[in-house]
Symmetry: C2
Subunit: 304 residues, 2 copies
Amino acid sequence: MIQTMESLRTAVSGLGPRTLAVAAAQDKEVLLAVDGARVRGLATAILVGDEPQIRQIAQENNISLDAHQIVHEPDKIQACRTAVNLVRTGKADVVMKGIVDTSLILKAVLDKEIGLRDSPVLSHVAVFQANGFDRLLYVTDAAMNIAPDVNAKKEILRNAVKVAHALGNPNPIAVCLCAVEKINPKMQATLDAAALVEANQSGEITGCRVLGPLALDNAISPEAAKHKGITDPLAGLGDILLVPAIETGNVLYKSLVYMAGAQNAGVIVGAKAPVVLTSRADSDEAKLNSIALALMIASGTSNK
Amino acid sequence: MIQTMESLRTAVSGLGPRTLAVAAAQDKEVLLAVDGARVRGLATAILVGDEPQIRQIAQENNISLDAHQIVHEPDKIQACRTAVNLVRTGKADVVMKGIVDTSLILKAVLDKEIGLRDSPVLSHVAVFQANGFDRLLYVTDAAMNIAPDVNAKKEILRNAVKVAHALGNPNPIAVCLCAVEKINPKMQATLDAAALVEANQSGEITGCRVLGPLALDNAISPEAAKHKGITDPLAGLGDILLVPAIETGNVLYKSLVYMAGAQNAGVIVGAKAPVVLTSRADSDEAKLNSIALALMIASGTSNK
């Protein structure tokens, strides 16, 4: 089981040659991230975008393009479609967003003809290596689904379970995070948690153990759970943290990175191949981690 | 301006004799917290509750009751009413919850005849001293208001501003936390944030500067805000973090305590005097901090 970002990157560099399909690659930050991935032995890239701009940016920043291919496509919508198609046809392993709106990438991913549709819901999974934890934590969905209903949450959970499986965790403990431990009809998150636990027990959601409602302390700290009198032996051992809405996930994400000093990675899953959306706010390490995460997931998917 | 928990406790111990009115004090954890407050010179207590039980628990745990008064009242509802009345009549400074449901304490606090009604909304304010921050952070509402509408948020914000004022921060920066920085009609939190900023600019909410919508990174990290291209010079300097709903606040609270190692305090405000609700999950330090916080607020209120 992969339990650190370092072992994730090591595992990916051992997978053999991997290829990123970068949509609209004419961006310094993106080219630096791709260069980092090459240097670390994670992957090379097919850079889809405005070739003269790509070459100029690379030259200005001393970025070698020798290991990569370039496909000249100045139109951003077309660049997204081309990058997605490269993955669909097996020429690349994952799609990576360049300097283009996320909505355009996702539109291409969801395109019925050339796209990569798979699960009914695309969702974001953030993975954290936090201080004091001997395992990775998977937070979903902190970035994409705003206020998912219980059916969307089932898909979000399934998507996250696949990510944990791809990282070698065969039966992750998924906690439906709430503000309390008791079902309260005034708190929809607690009702959804109960429904998700039931869906797990009935076999509708498989490959994981679902707990909830639990507050964060009792999701990640066995001591806190014991102190609170929670008898479930899995309480405090959460791997996947399913948040009720985007604000909760986003605050947890940012708090882990900016206040708890956690290392992070993020990816969009639910399509036949993952999509890497590094942002300018990500550290260089986080960008590499996200690329590695996506490649690992793609590897796991293709092995099935 | 008080910027650490230690300076908060020092300030309170310099206020002169203070008194806690403890409702249903027959509880080991509560008596230990009260004893800690006495030892640190924060306050003594009027212990309202079952006197034989209080004395037995104290004896079994070597807790001296010499500095405190005891008011025998075995009935929990009456104990709450008595404790609230002690504050209303100036015999105690703050109400502290003993072994009684929070709802019973709050019912007594809100009682039209003997209570302490003041603001239209009672709310919880959690105060954090987090690593790497030169100031205290005020998170509200992580524990009481489930999904406040914009009008309730105005009151919650006003309540928190009073807490910051009581701790010597004359013009706190209050950030309406969201998942994004742009107003998005699909995200109610962003609409509420815009309305709260406007209420601040129009003079409806005073004594603070309100910013938002901002995600947590841009609320508390000037570097993140700069990197994101946010031009407001106050971005990243947030003191008060107003969360959109209880789950977001609760996750932030727990993440700060259990993952970022922050020191914390918490209090219910909005009544004429604050209410201390320490929980078993609180560390001994957190309980003392909460008592100190409540006493400081009570002092600030009484000075006005």
